[in-house]
Each structure stands twice: as structure tokens, then as C-alpha cells.
Symmetry: C2
Subunit: 547 residues, 2 copies
């Protein structure tokens, strides 16, 4: 049978993978959680749409943004009020009346050190009532506030621009209740995603979201930024799985919408506005969320594919054949894999090199059934010539190793210098065209090459193909203004023409505030401004960002 004959490369790949991956066993430790790792190592100094000097203030980087004179400056009287209402000594980090600049730095800067504010006061409320008292006082006294979760964002949304007070949610980290029959979890916003997921694992459930920063990010921050991550394809968006929230509005009003029901059709679904609002209309204090059953079995396969056209076909086939067990379908281009290889010196699990690679993950309740389905899927796509080579992980170690070729891209790029990163959604048909067009554009300008004379090392793309979510990365050797000018606003215009989104999952923050017009028309932006005004008339919540 033709199918069986063509299966040979899979089996070869598998052998190689089984052998090769053992060498890579330790790699997961260093690469698997790039965010937490990088936030300590500070290996590279700029990343994103524009280069920053180390320790440059956001206010210097964005000179167009002016401090809003309506906002008061924090005084010793303000500080003593906050000290009086917050239960704990350590709940106030006070750089106004004491010299606590060093203590405040981690709250003033994002993990990439791309954004840096001038905040002098950090408050860490322990209860919803404390959040309410803080905001009421801030609103009455025109003090601007930045809500802050795990501070793992990529667009500068969770750090101040000027002297806004940081309200950090890390002390509100309790799991409140979990119903083992329904799978409904109620927890405080400051719970760390990974800790929450580990709690759920002990009950046979899973948090319906997974992402690289899970070791640091808060579930409240996940909701506030409508985080997408690795398994949206399977578990859907937070707009679907979130059942309720408790939030505090700018004036201190506590909005109790902490519904623990899957169905509740009684009025406008206001909680949805807080999901993805990036802390601009209220601070989420508690979350009620529907958690899926944890899968007993997990399988991962990695393919080499000859064209983007065939990658799309592979995705279509995976949906059809793996259907209910498909939990991730990730795309990586050849360039991104070459960079990972270059940095890690690891042998790639597939022998040849291919322009595209796909990582397919299945999660199901029966390992044997899932293995059969995946094997039969592999045979089928090879038989049809859709996939050129493939390898199937056989155990947990191999699964983790295969994932490093996807999850390790961010860190590998970081090792090599500055990176311009774009997180965008594009209708699937043209998803990869953006990478090719940018590569051609940089090349035509004579800025792309293998040697030191060229500022750009590579233009690569990867991402969540199952969600039509591309991460475009331009890896550079040094800052060069010509590169920046080639990229923007060209990229945003390119995306707008195709009705894509300039922010798939990372949000707007400071970085994309002025670009919202590329993804939303003036009517929509006008309505959004009305919403903002309704919920936060004084505009004290996370100013200078979002809209």
C-alpha cells in the first residue's frame, strides 16, 4: 500500500527523535518559560516596535505622551491615608516619604525593560474592600492608577508612564471555591496561573488557558488582557469560559457579577467588557471560570512541510481527523527553527530542512484511542503528500522536547539581539504572506543579510495557526532607524487591508494605543470612548493607554 510505503519517514523521524531528544531533556528547564527566565536574566535590551536604551523612561521614548495635568501628584498625606486603610505593613511601598526607589523599580518596569515609569507609590490591597477604598480615594483626589497583575505583558499596559500609583494584585491570591462536579472555580484575581492550574490538576481539571508566562502571570491579568495562548483552539476564548467577575470601578463601586452559573440570561453581559479592557474601566478582583476536564492522554507530533499551502491542508485534515482531541496546531517557519538550532546547538528532530513545520498536539481521555487517531492521521497526510516528514513523541520527555522547538523561539531570538515583534491576526489564507512581504521589503532595501554589515539577521514567523494568530519577528543585530521606518506603518496598513487585527492576543497597552484605527473603525472607537466615560468619568484608570 502506498500509504504504508510513504510512512517510512515518520518511522525514521520517530527513531531519530527518540534518540535525539534525550540529549535535550534539560533544555525545557531553560527554555520552557521564557518570560520568567528573561525577566531575571535581562539578556537583551530592546524588543518590540522600537528600540529602547537600557533604563530609558517610557515618557522619553514616547515624547508625544504628556502627563495629564488634571491628575494630582502623590503627597505624604495621600500616603498616610493609604497606610491607614491597608491592613499590612508591606502593603505600601512608599517612595514618596521614604527612599524606596529600588523597591519600587520592579513595579515601574516591565519584564523586557522596554517600558519604565516614574511611579513612587505601590499599593498591594489584600481584599476587594481595600481596592474599593483605594479607588474611591484616588477618584476623589484625582490620583491616576495603574492596575498590575503579574506584569508579564508585552505592550506596556501594566506599568506606569508617569507617576501613576501602582495597584498590585499579588496579595489577592486565594482560591475561594471549586465545585468538583461542575468544574467551576472561583478565585481571587492575583492567583498565579500555574499555581491555579496545579490546584486544578489535583482535582482532575485544567485551567482553560495556557501560556509561556504562566509561572508569573495572574489570572486577573489574563482576563484583563483577554489572553489567548496555546490552547484557545481547544478550550475557546475567555469570553466563553468566564462565568463571572467581581470588579471595582474607578469610583470604588464594587460590581458583584461573580456568577457561578453556565447560563444566566438576565440583562447585558457586562463582565464581557472587563475581559480585554486592560484595566481601563475597573480592577478585576475575583474571577469565576468554567474549567474543563483534564485530559489523561497527550500526544505531540512535529511535521516538516514543503509549502504554506500544504500547512493549511494539514490543518484542515487535522481538524477533520483529530477533531475533538486536537488541542494545538502550531506553525513555525524554517527560519525560526534555524535560529533555535543556532542558539541551542540542538539537533532538530527532523533530518531534512523544510520551509515550514507544524506541531500538532492532541489531548484526550484514552491514550490508546488518541494514539491510533494520530497515527492514522499521520499516515493519511503523508500518503496524500501533504506532509514531507514527521515525528511522534513517545513519552512525556519527548513531548516536552518537541514543544521546545516552538516555545523556545522567543528566547532564541532574544539571545541574538534586538527583535521587532508583532502579534497579529490575519485570515488564514494570507497569514504567512505578511512574513514573506516583510522579508522581501527589508531585503529590497539592502538591510537583510548573513553578515555583520546588515542590520537585520532574519525575518521569521510562527504562531498559533489554529487561531490564525501570527507572531512576526524581525531579528536585528543592532538598532537601525531605517529598519523601523520600513516596518511601520507598513505592517499595520497591510493588516488593515486584509481585515486582520493589529493585536491578536497581546493587547494595546502603550505600544499600540495609536494604531487602534487600523483594526477598528471610528464608530467602534467612538462607542468604546463612551463606555470608558461611563465607567471611569475622571479617566483615572490606566491613563495614556488603550484608546
Amino acid at each position: 500500500m502506498a500509504g504504508r510505503c510513504q510512512l517510512a519517514p515518520v518511522l525514521r523521524g520517530l527513531t531519530r527523535s527518540a534518540a535525539g531528544l534525550s540529549k535535550q531533556a534539560a533544555l525545557r528547564q531553560s527554555i520552557a518559560r521564557p518570560v520568567r527566565h528573561l525577566s531575571h536574566s535581562r539578556r537583551f535590551l530592546f524588543q518590540g516596535t522600537s528600540a529602547v536604551r537600557k533604563d530609558e523612561f517610557t515618557s522619553e521614548k514616547y515624547p508625544d505622551i504628556k502627563r495629564d495635568a488634571r491628575f494630582a501628584q502623590v503627597t505624604p498625606e495621600h500616603v498616610s491615608f493609604f497606610k491607614s486603610i491597608l491592613g499590612s505593613e508591606s502593603a505600601v511601598i512608599d517612595g514618596v516619604t521614604t527612599e524606596a526607589a529600588d523597591d519600587i523599580q520592579p513595579f515601574n518596569t516591565d519584564w523586557m525593560r522596554k517600558y519604565r515609569g516614574h511611579c513612587k507609590l505601590v499599593l498591594k490591597p489584600g481584599t476587594t474592600e481595600e481596592v474599593s477604598k483605594i479607588l474611591k480615594y484616588c477618584n476623589d483626589n484625582m490620583l491616576a492608577v495603574v492596575p498590575q497583575g503579574g506584569n508579564t505583558g508585552l505592550v506596556g499596559g501594566s506599568v506606569p508612564v508617569f507617576d501613576e500609583i501602582v495597584v498590585n494584585m499579588s496579595r489577592m491570591n486565594q482560591i475561594i471555591e471549586f465545585d468538583e462536579v461542575s468544574g467551576i472555580l472561583v478565585a481571587e484575581a492575583g492567583c498565579i496561573l500555574e499555581v491555579t492550574d496545579q490546584f486544578l490538576a489535583s482535582k482532575g481539571y485544567i485551567f482553560p488557558l495556557d501560556l509561556g508566562a504562566k509561572g508569573s502571570c495572574h489570572i486577573g491579568g489574563n482576563l484583563a488582557t483577554n489572553a489567548g495562548g496555546l490552547r484557545l483552539l481547544r478550550y475557546g476564548s475567555l469570553h466563553g469560559s468566564t462565568l463571572g467577575i467581581e470588579a471595582v470601578l474607578a469610583d470604588g463601586t464594587i460590581v458583584d457579577d461573580l456568577c457561578k452559573l453556565r447560563k444566566n440570561n438576565t440583562g447585558y453581559d457586562l463582565k464581557q467588557l472587563f475581559i480585554g479592557a486592560e484595566g481601563t474601566i475597573g480592577i478585576i478582583t475575583k474571577v469565576s471560570i468554567q474549567c474543563p476536564q483534564r485530559s489523561a492522554a497527550q500526544n505531540v507530533a512535529l511535521f516538516g512541510i514543503e509549502s504554506y499551502e500544504k500547512a493549511q491542508q494539514a490543518f484542515r485534515e487535522a481538524k477533520g481527523q483529530l477533531s475533538e482531541i486536537l488541542s494545538a496546531f502550531e506553525l513555525m517557519d524554517g527560519g525560526s527553527q534555524a535560529l533555535v538550532r543556532q542558539v541551542t546547538k540542538n539537533k532538530h528532530p527532523l533530518e531534512g530542512t523544510y520551509p515550514f513545520y507544524c506541531l500538532v498536539e492532541t489531548s484526550g481521555s484514552n491514550a490508546e484511542h488518541d494514539g491510533e487517531k494520530l497515527q492514522s492521521f499521520l499516515e493519511n497526510v503523508m500518503e496524500k503528500g501533504i506532509v514531507a516528514d514527521g515525528t511522534l513523541a513517545e513519552n512525556e520527555t519527548q513531548i516536552r522536547s518537541l514543544w521546545t522547538w516552538r516555545e523556545g523561539i522567543t528566547e532564541a531570538l532574544g539571545h541574538l539581539g534586538g527583535v521587532y515583534k508583532y502579534d497579529v491576526s490575519i485570515p488564514l489564507k494570507e497569514l504567512y504572506q505578511l512574513v514573506e512581504d516583510i522579508r522581501a521589503r527589508v531585503d529590497a532595501a539592502g538591510l537583510l543579510g548573513d553578515t555583520d554589515e546588515y542590520p537585520v539577521r532574519a525575518v521569521v514567523g510562527y504562531g498559533h495557526m489554529g487561531d490564525a494568530n501570527l507572531h512576526l519577528n524581525v531579528s536585528t543585530r543592532r538598532f537601525d532607524e531605517r529598519v523601523e521606518k520600513l516596518l511601520e506603518p507598513f505592517i499595520y496598513e497591510w493588516i488593515a487591508e486584509r481585515q486582520g487585527s493589529i493585536s491578536a492576543e497581546h493587547g494595546l497597552g502603550v505600544m499600540k494605543k495609536k494604531y487602534i484605527g487600523y483594526s477598528r473603525n471610528p464608530t467602534m472607537v467612538g462607542l468604546m470612548k463612551n463606555i470608558k466615560k461611563t465607567f471611569d468619568p475622571n479617566g483615572i484608570l490606566n491613563p495614556y493607554k488603550y484608546l
Copy 2:
């Protein structure tokens, strides 16, 4: 093995089912779509929270609701304006300048004939621009409007109370595009759910929603009421699967948020407000929705269970063991099954009688795997003594037949006389307690019994256990004010005490407008009123309802 021994009842059940169900083959035709069926047969004259005389006007039934004097009455000038802008002759049903009262009746009355309005003008726009022109004119001239989809609702949301103009969406019924790789469908709001689903079936996809009224209801109406239905357990809510909408605001502004991307984090997710808004902040004209892969295999089992406690255990086990293939878990009490038996004269698929029955459906990509999982689940729950008896459908006919014992309840109840129906959400642990408490309450008042002297025949419960969504039904022989007084507001208070929802999936409409306070606190209702004012300052959209 104990498991094998205890399996005997399953096998017995199966045999019986296979034999018994053949007699019922035709039953599906008459029962499967109660809504469409009933809307023509008009078999029973009252249903819901209060009894209505045939052809009673809503304004008579709810004398507290007064016509808002700010609204203009429709004049011949208005009619001629609408005739001038609507492309088609049949797009205006005019009871103002012509005698079209009979033609207008179907638009003035809901399918249960529970609500009846005084509307004299029905408009059927064919394009978004026409909807926009209609609403701009109505807003400028203070003409109130009722958006109307398939008019299959249960709470009077889609028919006028007084002389509001009906804007019926049935002419906007085109599928605009479908992407076979991503599964994203874009369609006009007036597409009938079943027609849309049949189109998707031809492409290997399924609409992420299924409900009894599918033969008549519109997908725009499904979104406007945030319909739940049979497979929410599997495919999640419309808040998760809807990617975008196009809608027209009260002043005629077209909101183009017809996003065709799974991820788009650029500003507040405004479309969410329209989902479940029941036409009070705009008219949805187009929909973009993520459709799941259609499952190749479907299996259905029906169990007899000795207690509600064990029904919960069965659900927990089904989630654990059937996990990704579980697509419905429905609960029916013994009373509801007895009524279906009484009306249809069919033999129940299970021999004994049980206080509870559960219908479990699986949908997956591999029939053999699914069958194995379901069989092993059945063995397991019987071995553990959770399930007393069970039967497994072996083919499509049997699957349909088993479903009639769940889907046929509504119609069976209708055959027997007036029904007070409550669609509520209650945390799972106490879900069925409401039925027991109401039954005891009606019984204690001496109103419940088997003979004609008692006004109440039965108090039964059934529903979507997977979603903690109970349909409480009080089946009566005749209208009796004492019954009504026993039920309300007792039921709403009972639910509020347990943080349930007074409307799980049917919405507020006219029926539950004044009860929203039982499920939403004043802060939430205040915020909702602000939203309404922002989107519809003159209040012309679906007045007298919702808030």
C-alpha cells in the same frame, strides 16, 4: 467480573430498546420540533407564569405597563416613507392605510399565543442599509420598534406590546461566506438556524448551537437572546463562538464589527453587549461565527437512576470518562417521563420506573472509539451502582427515538393543558430541590392530585444538567389563581437565595422584566441602564421589556 455481571440490565435494556423503538420511528416527526409544530396547531391556550385567555392582549394581561406617550403613532406619511425606502412591495405589511389586520396577526403574536400586541405596521428590510434608514427615521420621529427574528421566544421579547413597528428580519437570510479551513461562517441575521446548519453539514461543519425551535428561529435572534440549547456543554456559549457582528443602532448608525478572526484584542469587546440584549441596543444584521467540525459518530444512552445524588455522580463520571466526546447530559425526572408516556402511549425504553433518567450523548470522530468509551462508561457506572438500568441506541433511528423522551416533554405537557414554565439556573447541588420544594408546596395547599378536583396535575423537572439549567414545569388542568400565588414570587426568591438565575436561556422579555432584581443587584442594573442610554438614548428599541 462484577462489572460484566451487572451489565445485564444494560443489555436487556438494549434489546428492549431495539424492539420497542421501532414502533416509535414516526414519533420524531411529530414531536422533534415542538415549537414549529405548536405554532401551527395552537393546541393549548396558556403557558408560562400566568394564564391568558385566547387572544388576550399583552396590554390587558399586564395592565401596569402603560404606553409611553413620548412615542408617536404611525401615520400614513410614515407608511409612505417606509414604502419609498424598502426595495420590495412585500416588504411593508401595512395595517395603517390598508385593511391588513389578518396579515399582521402572525407578527403581533408569539407562537404560544401568550403575548399579543397592537402593531399596525411590519417592515421587512432586505439590507443593512434599509435597516439603518428605518431606524434613523424611527429615531428622528420617535417611533418605537420591535426587532423580530423567527418569533420563537418564550418570554414575549419579539412581539409588540402596543403599536410598536415590527422590523422583521426574515428577508435578510443569505449566507455570505464560509471558510472551509477555519470554519468561520458569515451570514445574515435572518438565516434560519436549521437551514444554516444544513449548509454547514454539507461542508463537514456544525452550527455551535442546537435547539428545539431550529426550524423557525433565526441565527440573529439566537444571538440577541444568547440562546443556550442542547450542546452548550460541548460547544460553549455564543459569547465564546461569536467572532463578530454587524448591527444597526437606534439612530441608524451601522456598527461594523464583523470580525472574521478568532483573536482580536483591540479595545472593548462591544459585540458581547449585543449578545443577549434582546434587541434593546441595536438590531443585529450580520453574524460571524466560529463553527466546529461536525462529528462523524454519535451515540446516545438513556439511564434510569435512583436518586438525584446519583444523577450528579453519573454526570461527574461522564465528564471524567467521556470527556472530550460528551456532547449532552440531560436530566428528566420520573414525572416528566410518565407524562410523555401518557400522551404518546409509547413504551418507555427502560422497563422499570425510576425517579430520574439521564440521556447521555457523545459526538466524536471515530464511532468505534466512542462506542468503546461509552460501553466502558456504562459498565463502570453500573458496577459502582450509580446507574440502575440503561440502554444504548444502536443506530440513527434509535438515537432519535431516545431523544424523543427528552425533546418530547414540552409537547406532551402542552397536550395536557396549561403549563407554568420556568427556565432557571441553579448551582448543581440544589438543582432538583426546587422541583421538590414546589411540589411539596402545591401539595400542602391541597392543589395537587390525580383527579379532576385538583387544579395541578403534576410538578415536573427536566433540563440541561450539564449546564445546571432546569426547566421546572407545573402542569395544570385549568387556570386557578391560587396556584399562581403559590408559585410567584416564591420561586424567584428561592432562586435568588441560592444565587441562581431566574432566566437561564430564555431571556427576560416582557415576562421577567420586573424580576431582574432577583438575579442582578442594583449596581449591575444601574450600569445596564447606562448602557441602554448610551446606545439608545430615546429608548425606541424594544420598549416595555428587558430592564
